[in-house]
Amino acid sequence: MRTSDGNKQWEFIPPGKGQSLVALYGTPVAGPESVYIGGYSGVIYALDTATGSIKWQFPQTGQLGPIVASAVLSGGLLLVGSSDSHVYALDATSGLEKWRAKVGGKVWAEAAVERNQVYVPGLDGKLYALDLSSGQARWKFKAGGALASPPAIQDGKVYVGSFDSYLYAIETNSGQEQWKFKGGDWFWSRPVAHEGTIYAANLDGKVYALDAKSGRELWNFSAESGLSSSPVLADGLLIVASKEGVVFALDAAKGNLKWRVVAPDGVLAPLHVAAGKVFIKTEGNTVLALDIASGKEEWKFVPTK
């Protein structure tokens, strides 16, 4: 759909068995000419950006384990984690497999890439650092609980939240823990790392702002219900949406509430920022475009059933 007015350009319905629909949990990732997404049926699709038609799919026949994680695009490689405990690196243009790496558990969260290293969180509670060009394991870090939170990277540290209620800061070179911070419940969403501050939303309904060096809490903001949607930072505002569907914009420096909007229903999907707007996809599949500065609704897309 168009970011300016929400007009639908095309739609893609992944082919399922018979009449059954395939769930798409990941956020589509856009390259120069293609959009990539994996389906719960275990197939990764590259779609034409202009038309939505399938350019290639992987595997060409059969299927992988269910795909929940979003894909990541890095230097012509498309990286996708699967529930079959593998990470697949595909050529983004052709869809050919470059390498695959076996990890110890399902991968439900997207990987993060920096300096030829891929960080893969696993539901087995381990964060795997892999070589980007070969998929060889460099180190792994064991957290106290499952990792369903995509990692964030800043200044030589990778930040990842766990089901054991801790957010971990891990040295990217060595895989050594630098500090950990305890929230009230699971960390499910991706933390935001920005200018020495880590912002992390928790299922306990709080957003925590932490000092990136020490893990010391700078402030916290209590939303009205659990937070599983990844927050975004734009124009000095941290925007976060709760499972009950309330969208909050906070002053990133102090955590003060700037505006608050109630969405038609709950929000679990990560938020996205582009063209001065924040885009919110609700559980009922409505897409809202809000003005970042004021929270004013710019447009709303309600899919026809």
Binding site: G144, F163, D164, S165, L203, G226, K243
Partner: protein, 321 residues
């Protein structure tokens, strides 16, 4: 607080969290955890189950006499009611006696079923939903989501080898067959025969669609039920169905069956004066009972789940969850 919240608070969440704690101590093997947990819950319910089974058994045994009374006093409702109550008193049972334990057990089976399904969270939504029901015990949060592999199975998926559906249907059939007692009118017998086949087939079919973790629970629950049933009623109708049918015996038993239709109470019931203790059990296990079953079966050339609702209710409801 709504009924749903109350249910979660006192039934579902305790069951779920104990299940996950147990997983920590059972090699992080969820299949094994389901088996052990189902056995523990069923053992804790043993006194209730036995009480229900015994009451049901006696109720089943007096069915022929009840039928006689019903036909004899069909036109005199008052007398019918008096004689029926008298019979219940003689047999030492309350017709609603097996409902109490069943009603208590039912929520436990439902909560157990719910806990197994919830713990097998296979999608992000179900895992997020699970997180809302976990106690703040580190032991619980450390191991979620639970491992899905057990023997040849993925516990979150149906068994592709179709071994579990056969086990579910087979154990359910055995359990139902064990509670089968002779007697009853032909209509009832025919219905019972249909049920005896349909229920196991239906659950076998469900198992083809449902996560195999749930099927593990059904099989375990059925096996525990069979063992408990054995200690209360013996092999019951199962033994009868395994014996070869011999015509001369049938004739013999037909002759024996005649006294059962007399107003005099069967010997098996006479020492049961309003108690459910050892005496009643002794009579229930006596050789005479078996003899009577044989004769009854031969007499009707079939069997009936005389315990039908009251008796099967608890066990079957456990299976259904």
């Amino acid at each position: 607080m709504g009924i749903g919240d109350l249910w979660n608070l006192i039934m579902f969440e305790p069951m779920l969290n104990v299940l996950i704690v147990l997983y920590n101590f059972l090699l992080h093997n969820f299949g094994l955890t389901i088996v052990v947990f189902t056995i523990i819950v069923r053992l804790l319910m043993y006194p209730l189950t036995v009480k229900q089974l015994r009451t049901s058994k006696v109720m089943a045994e007096i069915q022929p006499r009840l039928k006689e009374i019903q036909s004899k006093y069909a036109k005199d409702q008052q007398k019918l009611s008096q004689e029926t109550m008298k019979l219940y008193k003689e047999a030492g049972v309350n017709p609603l006696g097996c409902l109490g334990p069943m009603i208590i057990q039912l929520p436990i089976w439902i909560a157990l079923y719910q806990a197994v399904i919830s713990a097998l969270a296979t999608t992000p939504e179900s895992l997020l939903a699970l997180s809302q029901h976990l106690y703040p015990w580190p032991l619980v949060h450390r191991v979620v989501p639970l491992g899905e592999n057990f023997l040849w199975l993925n516990l979150g998926q149906p068994d592709r080898l179709v071994i579990l559906p056969i086990l579910v249907a087979g154990t359910m059939w055995i359990q139902q067959k064990m509670i089968t007692l002779p007697g009853g009118d032909p209509k009832q017998q025919s219905m019972n025969r249909t049920m005896l086949l349909m229920m196991p087939l239906m659950f076998g079919f469900f198992t083809l669609q449902f996560p195999s973790g749930l099927a593990i629970y059904w099989v375990t629950s059925n096996i525990v039920g069979i063992i408990m049933q054995y200690f209360v009623t013996g092999w019951g109708g199962l033994l009868n169905s395994l014996r070869p049918k011999e015509k001369p015996q049938e004739d013999k038993s037909k002759k024996k069956a005649v006294p059962l239709r007399q107003p005099t109470p069967p010997v098996v019931l006479s020492p049961a004066p309003a108690s459910e203790g050892g005496k009643e059990r002794k009579s229930a296990h006596g050789k005479r009972r078996d003899k009577r079953q044989d004769s009854g079966r031969s007499d009707s050339n079939g069997s009936s789940t005389a315990r039908s609702k009251p008796g099967t209710g608890g066990d079957n409801s456990s299976s259904k969850g």
